[in-house]
Symmetry: C2
Subunit: 365 residues, 2 copies
């Protein structure tokens, strides 16, 4: 299987594996040349690495795995399923990205010493865990308001933590500043991270016997989940493995809603300070915004926003049914409830909610 | 498939499904009459319910599932594997027991209104989640010292929480007192709960292609994990599905070590107050003690104790390798490290550590 890494904007190829953004300022992306084939799945492996043959830049012997993937898909009522991405090694879907990114970097770089990453918490914890497994040092830059359990978790893996007083963008800038000493692998930028999320689409397709859902709700902040999932769908679709693409609904908070606003042609001015229970969805100016709106238009996606009250209500309703997720994860369910209430979902539409982060990550009740 | 429920001591049958202990004071157990057969596994289901055919008291349409089971089995070094039971719907292995218990009760009882349970935290959270899914009320009695995240989690599922100032036994007594109004389903007593843990043995056997480990380390408190796992092993062994039984090492803390002490013929007087980072292992007088020592002798098991320093060291070592578990879970790994250090483990002995609870359940770093 062959691939290339090119700029999402000017299409220029990445010059070397240490580059994390193009000279033009835009992020890179992975382009695959080969089709998805069912017989290339390694059925004896129950992690994302059953799809290892679709990751040409990862060497088998360099794989860093903590048992990520093959998460439960649970039917909760007629036409409604939940994908429990919070039952991942570090408690969030990010492990798909981290496992692929760290494995890819170790495959390509011969002398890896130390990384730096910025995160609102979950990606930082995930990267810290995979770096711990790989025996590589990492510095994680987080917003000052990051939840206590997330900070403790990152520290437990042995990562160095730097709290930054400022916006999510300022946190990124701090991590990038260090990039001479520490290789910057910011998950919102690095193409391998979101490329790892393709496995989620493959997995859902396989778990439904290749008859996918008609609607999928997922939370969106930096866009790695959305883009990775949609690229996975696209890969299977052009390979004739699935017949149709679900309507993917990018779910955001009213405060942090750049994707929703851009897709609906509405002006967006982010609040000077974000105050939300959904503390994992705070990226009001994601570097992948253009990519997100492009793929959403191409693949007929939709977007929705929910307010704090709706998020809290959705969190409680999920927990009261046995699904304990962090508020940021409940945002997707809140968007679903809103659409249900507004009769935007047909009665027989098979719907999937992707639940991204575990409830134990926050102090919220 | 047929079965009976009898007293572990006097062998008298359970008179009705509401009885939680025998008149003689001993706990009940499930006795299965039929053999384990590989072709009875439902291979399309990736939860404990792929083994549904080995649970004759559960009706298919009464199953309460949150996606429990089929957890990752990760090789970490030559001859060492970890079973990530902490990646369960509520963050601990207890979900195997709760799912089977609640499903079994709903199958047998026609008019279930409300349950009561006592727990140091994890079982309470698990039972609360499955009761939430089933739409049944539950009262959970916990020790006053139960960790904050566990209390929050139990409350989130909508359970009523009662904090009891006293020993673990006094907590049980309080829950049992209520048993007129609320059906008492204490996990340390109810035979269906630990019977659900059989699935762990089946799963590990299936994931290793029926070539089991030579050693298994697991933490022991009330004994449900130990007994359920060993009954599963026994079931497969007498059914000729596996050829040999691993040496199972019951791992306890020096403070709470009734099983270790009884097995080694040492006197045990529990401390007046238990002070340990392993807050899930605080049952110093478990009702299943006789059952545990009996099966350990029959199946050539072993036991070990570790002190606070060893537990903390093991917790940190696991986290520094990407496995973030609660200290109680690290007790099994600490016992393994102790045996390794004492040269009690042969170089080529394939060993499994069962990691029971997620690190996010505690504030420990």
């Amino acid at each position: 299987m062959s691939f290339k890494v090119v700029c999402t904007k000017c299409n220029n190829p990445r010059k070397n594996e240490m580059e994390w953004k193009c000279n033009c300022g835009a992020p890179f992306k992975v382009v695959l040349y080969d089709k998805f084939k069912k017989d290339k799945i390694i059925k004896s492996i129950y992690s994302i690495w059953r799809y290892r043959n679709f990751y040409p830049y990862v060497k088998k012997e360099k794989i860093v795995s903590l048992g990520e993937g093959w998460t439960p898909l649970v039917k909760v009522k007629n036409n409604l399923w939940l994908k429990l991405e919070y039952l991942m090694p570090t408690g969030s879907f990010k492990d798909r990205g981290s496992s692929v990114l760290i494995s890819g970097l170790l495959s390509e770089l011969s002398n890896v010493k130390s990384f730096s990453e910025d995160s609102s918490g979950n990606a930082g914890a995930s990267m810290a865990a995979y770096c711990a497994k790989a025996g590589v040092k990492i510095r994680v830059f987080v917003p000052e308001k990051t939840s206590g359990p997330k900070i403790l978790q990152i520290a437990s893996y042995g990562a160095q933590i730097f709290k930054v007083n400022g916006s999510r963008e300022e946190v990124s800038a701090k991590a990038q500043e260090m990039s001479k000493e520490y290789t910057y692998i910011g998950h919102a930028w690095h193409p391998y991270f979101r490329d790892g999320i393709r496995t989620l689409a493959y997995e859902v397709a396989e778990q439904t016997n290749w008859k996918l859902f008609e609607r999928v709700y997922l939370p969106v902040s930096s866009g790695t989940l959305l883009l990775g999932f949609m690229e996975g769908l696209r890969h299977m679709c052009i390979s004739n493995v699935i017949n149709s693409i679900p309507k993917v609904v990018a779910s955001q908070t009213t405060q942090v809603s750049p994707v929703y606003r851009k897709l609906k042609n509405l002006h967006y001015s982010p609040p000077s300070e974000v105050k939300t229970v959904a503390d994992a969805l705070v990226n009001s100016n994601p570097p992948l915004l253009e990519e997100m709106t492009k793929i959403m238009k191409e693949m007929d996606g939709d977007a929705e926003v929910v307010n704090e009250e709706e998020i809290i209500k959705a969190s409680i309703l999920l927990a009261r049914n046995g699904f304990y997720v962090e508020p940021s994860a409940a945002v997707a369910f809140a968007a679903y409830l809103k659409h249900l209430n507004e009769n935007l979902i047909k009665k027989d539409e098979k719907t999937l909610i992707i639940l991204t982060g575990i409830g134990l990550k926050t102090h919220f009740t």
